[in-house]
Structure formats: C-alpha cells, structure tokens
C-alpha cells in the first residue's frame, strides 16, 4: 500500500520594482545623510514621518519639509516571542511604536539595549545608526532604538498616539 500524496510544498517568492514617489524618495535620501525628514500638513500641522506627500486626514499635499529628531518616546510596544521568516532579530525582541520628537505620527522599529521586561510605555529612546560608511536610503540605516537614559515622558505627551 503506497501512502497517497496529500500535499506538496511549493515555495514562492516575489521580486518587484518599487517606486517610492517624490516624498518618500526625499525621506530615504535624507536617511542616507543621517537626517530624518518629515513633512508638515498645512492644515492640521501634524508632521508625517516618513514623509509621504499628503495628509490622509485633511486630504491635502504636505510640502513643507521639517527635520525631525532621532530621539523619541515609546508610545506602545509588544514583546515578540514568535519566529517569522522575514524577521532577523533574536527572540524575544521589543517591537516599539516610537513617536520621534517633532513628529505627529509614530512608527514601528525594534528597541534594544535592555531586557524585554524593562520596556515600558513613555520610555525615552534614541536611534542607533549604522556606521556612516554603511548609511543608505533605507530605514535599516537605523539599526535599532536604545534607551536614552532620560526620565520617562508623561502619558499626556504621547497618549493620543497609542
């Protein structure tokens, strides 16, 4: 009796060309120069980082460019203990939603340099960049965020971004 074949594994992969558009291109070129560029919405005055060319809430173009700090506040986070093929961090790691100083919207990055159980909302962090010669037009130019040692921020300063 031969065991019937019930399923086979056929891996797929996708390769694609990506056109980041004007705003994101400028953001990425800024990153390659150790700068974090945001764009301010002329209507709600929120600063988008990465810059994306428009404010979805106000439906207007965002043209004014603003430099944003590479320090910020952890608005919320998760400690990831699940492996995934696309993720190259050692488990467990802290995936943090970080509001950069001067930004109006948080973004996700990895938080390192402390034990996972020490991560907390309101924690002050700063970017750890790759060495200058390795800087490129990618968010990966920021290796991770690490605690800055400043006192925690008050919930009122970041609560609306959780």
């Amino acid at each position: 009796m031969v065991e019937p074949v019930k399923s086979i594994v056929t891996p797929i992969r996708l390769e694609y060309d990506y056109t980041p558009g004007r705003a994101t291109s400028r953001f990425l070129r800024g990153i390659a120069q150790h700068r974090i560029l945001g764009q301010e919405c002329p209507s709600c005055l929120k600063v988008y980082v990465p810059a994306r060319g428009s404010c979805p809430r106000c439906a207007v173009p965002t043209e004014r460019e603003v430099d944003v700090q590479d320090s910020g506040t952890v608005v919320t986070f998760s400690i990831v203990r699940v492996p995934s093929e696309n993720i190259h961090f050692e488990l467990p790691y802290a995936c943090a939603s970080i509001l950069l100083d001067g930004a109006g919207i948080p973004f996700f990055h990895v938080l390192q340099g402390l034990a996972p159980e020490e991560v907390r909302m309101g924690m002050r962090v700063k970017a750890r960049w790759v060495p200058t010669e390795k800087l490129g037009p990618t968010i990966a130019s920021i290796e991770c965020f690490v605690p800055s040692g400043e006192p925690d921020a008050a919930l009122e300063t970041y609560g609306e971004h959780t």
Binding site: S7, P20, V80, N86, H88, C95, I105, F108, V110, P137
Partner: protein, 385 residues
C-alpha cells in the same frame, strides 16, 4: 427603495487545522452544497456567485476565484471576488446582498474560505517592504501594541483577556463545527499559556484553520418560500480608513464607529445593547471583545471590559457575544467574517443548536480587517424590517 433580501441557506465546513481530505475547490464546494441543501435549492437556481478570501499571498494561489469557478457552479454566471483583508467574509456577504437589494439578481450564492494549512499567513503578513525593516511579526505583532494601549487607557484589570478566551472556548464546545474543542479550558490554562506577542498569550490568540462558509441569499418573494424561515437583512454597513494617519485612534477607529452608527440608523436602532439580542463579532485576540464593545456602541468608551467582567457577553448574559466560539476558536481567515455573519443569521433562524440564544430575534454580525481599517457589519432579524 431597495428590495428586501433574505438569507435562505447557510452552510459551513468542519473548521480544522488541516483539511487534507479536500482541495480548495472541494472545501468551498462542501460549504456551498450545504447552503443549497439548507435552502432546498439546486445549482441551477443560482443567478450569480460572489466569493471572498484573504490575500492571495497566503496560499500563493493567484486569482483563486478563477480556479474555483467550476466548483462554485459559476460557468455561465456572473462571478465576482471581493477582498477587504480579514473583514472579507463580511463584505463579501454584503456585496452579494446588494445584488439582490439592487434588484439585479434573484438568488445569489456567496462563499468565503481559507485553507491556512496550505498557506503561510505569518509570512504573508510580515511585510518586508522595500527600503524598510520588518519588525511587526504577523497580525499579533501589529495588534499587541494596540491591546497594550487599550489596557493602559481603560485601566482594565489584567485578566479580562483571559476571561474572554475562556468564555469563547467554552462556547465552542457547543459548536460541532468549531476548530478548537478544548474540553479542559480554564483560567489557569490560558494564564499559563506562553506569551507570544506580550501582552497576548497563545490561548488569547486565534488558531490557524481551514474552512469555508456559504450562504444563499434571495429576493423577498422567493425567500418567503424557503423551507426554513429566512433571516431578513435589516441593515448592512461598511467603512474603511487608512492604516496610518496623524491623530488616528487605532484602538477605537473612527471607521468602525461610523459603520456602527450607519448600521443602527438604517435598522432603526437607538439603544443597541437593549435592541440587539446577540452579537457575533470578529475577535481574533481576546482583548478585542471589550475594544469592539466600545467601538460598536454597546459600552461607553473605556467601559467595554466591564461587560466581560459582569458576564454580560456570556451565553446567559444580556448581550451574548460570540456564541459560536468566535474567531478565537476557529480562524479560516477569509471565511471568518462570513462565519460571524452566518452565525447571526443562524441565531435568528433558530439553527444554532446548543449555542442557540433563546428568543434571538435580532442579531449583529461583524468583521474587521487590515490594521483595524476595514469594517463590515449587518443586522439580521427573524421578522421583516
């Protein structure tokens, strides 16, 4: 004025980790056959087919609606595929209903499915975007920070999520179709299960399931002739919003609130908690029960967790939630939204067996998807609106 639409047939497959006994076409056929049987109809009675599933990258099967056309009896008929991420099962049913309500078709078959055993949803959802760095691990990685934000904002006791997880698994024991039948489920068992995406534990998360759900919808005069009284659609609503914009409240999204307001207005409901008898909502991670209770207007903002603690959402509570065991007990992603919609219809048709809510006359079905950015919901009733 729109035509009245009734749900005359409902079918679902056994939901399980692996359905190696059937192919994808076999899976959808199983659900569709059961829906037709329930409706007392044959394939020739169907005018159009509307199918939904989650992203193609999950199973790696591109344009599955074409591949499935034969098994869904679609040749020679309009065949339409809907896609709104995790909410797709709900929005697929709504699109199918709109074909009847608009007077375009008389009877429509709608089907949604997922075969997670043939897919890699973690890979499909852990996006390694160009110029970026992948840090958000799957759906849990995205939603865990929101759950943490909700707990902080609402001041909810830490074990509310555990209570939801236990309640839904107990409900699943009454549902023969449910994937997880955890007979010895307990508070301790959930509490001691491993943290996957802190603060979400393994048993506070949904399983990966294979399964399909199907419904036959019909115009008023045809629905009236159904062998089992139909569930009448009182109202439907869908809304979406971008994943990210400055000032977005991702924990209590505006799109969900807007959809709920629209839904209640269409159904003539002013006090949803009193006027709706039971609700089957999309809760893939336990804490989303209190979060959606607030978003859907069943509780004040910050007070949804009290409903869980007080037992209001239990089978014997004043607003039973997830009578079937919910997404926490079975998650064939593409079908999960339709299973919620179908459970609401089963309740008002008195077809829910052991998890039937006595006297359920009006029920809510709800689904959400993406980064809490797609919402679809309907209210169905045993009486015409």
């Amino acid at each position: 004025m729109a035509e009245l639409c009734g749900i005359v047939g409902i079918g679902q497959t056994k939901l399980a980790a692996k359905r190696v006994d059937v192919s994808m076409p076999g899976l959808v056929r199983e659900a569709a056959d059961r829906a037709l049987l329930d409706a007392g109809l044959g394939w020739a009675d169907i005018d159009a087919v509307v199918v939904g599933k989650a992203p193609d990258t999950f199973e790696g099967c591109m344009l599955p609606e074409l591949y499935l056309a034969d098994s869904l009896g679609a040749p020679g008929k309009p065949l339409l595929r809907v896609h709104t991420a995790g909410s797709v099962g709900g929005s697929t049913a709504i699109v199918a209903a709109s074909l009847i309500q608009a007077g375009i078709h008389d009877r429509v078959l709608t089907v949604a499915y997922e075969k997670q055993s043939e897919s890699n949803a973690m890979w499909g959802l852990t996006i390694s975007a160009p110029f970026g760095v992948a840090v958000v691990a799957g759906a849990g990685g995205f939603f865990a920070p929101l759950v943490r934000g909700y707990i902080r904002r609402s001041g909810a006791p830490a074990d509310v999520g555990i209570r939801v997880a236990v309640k839904d698994r107990l409900n699943a024991l009454k549902n023969p179709y449910a994937h997880l039948h955890l007979k010895d489920i307990s508070h301790e068992m959930v509490e001691q299960s491993p943290m996957l995406w802190d603060p979400i534990r393994l048993l506070e998360a949904c399983p990966s399931s294979d399964g399909a759900c199907a419904m036959v919808l019909a115009r008023e005069d045809l629905a009236q002739r159904a062998p089992t009284p139909p569930a009448w659609i009182h109202a439907t609503a869908m809304r979406s919003e971008p994943t990210m914009f400055a000032g977005r409240d991702a924990i209590n999204p505006e799109a969900g609130k807007m959809a709920a307001r629209d839904l209640y207005a269409k159904a003539g409901i002013t006090n949803p908690r009193r006027e709706i008898d039971c609700a089957e909502i999309y809760v893939p991670f336990s804490w989303f029960e209190p979060m959606w209770m607030e978003n859907l207007g069943f509780a004040e903002e910050g007070a949804g967790w009290r409903m869980t603690l007080e037992g209001a959402t239990a089978l014997d509570g004043d607003l039973p939630v997830n009578m079937s065991g919910g997404v926490l007990s079975s998650n064939p992603i593409g079908a999960s939204g339709m299973l919620r919609f179908a459970e609401a219809a089963m309740q008002v048709r008195k077809q829910a067996g052991e998890h039937q809510i006595e006297g359920a006359r009006r029920a809510l079905g709800h689904a959400y998807g993406g980064g809490s950015q797609y919402f679809s919901m309907w209210i169905v009733g045993s009486e015409k609106p």
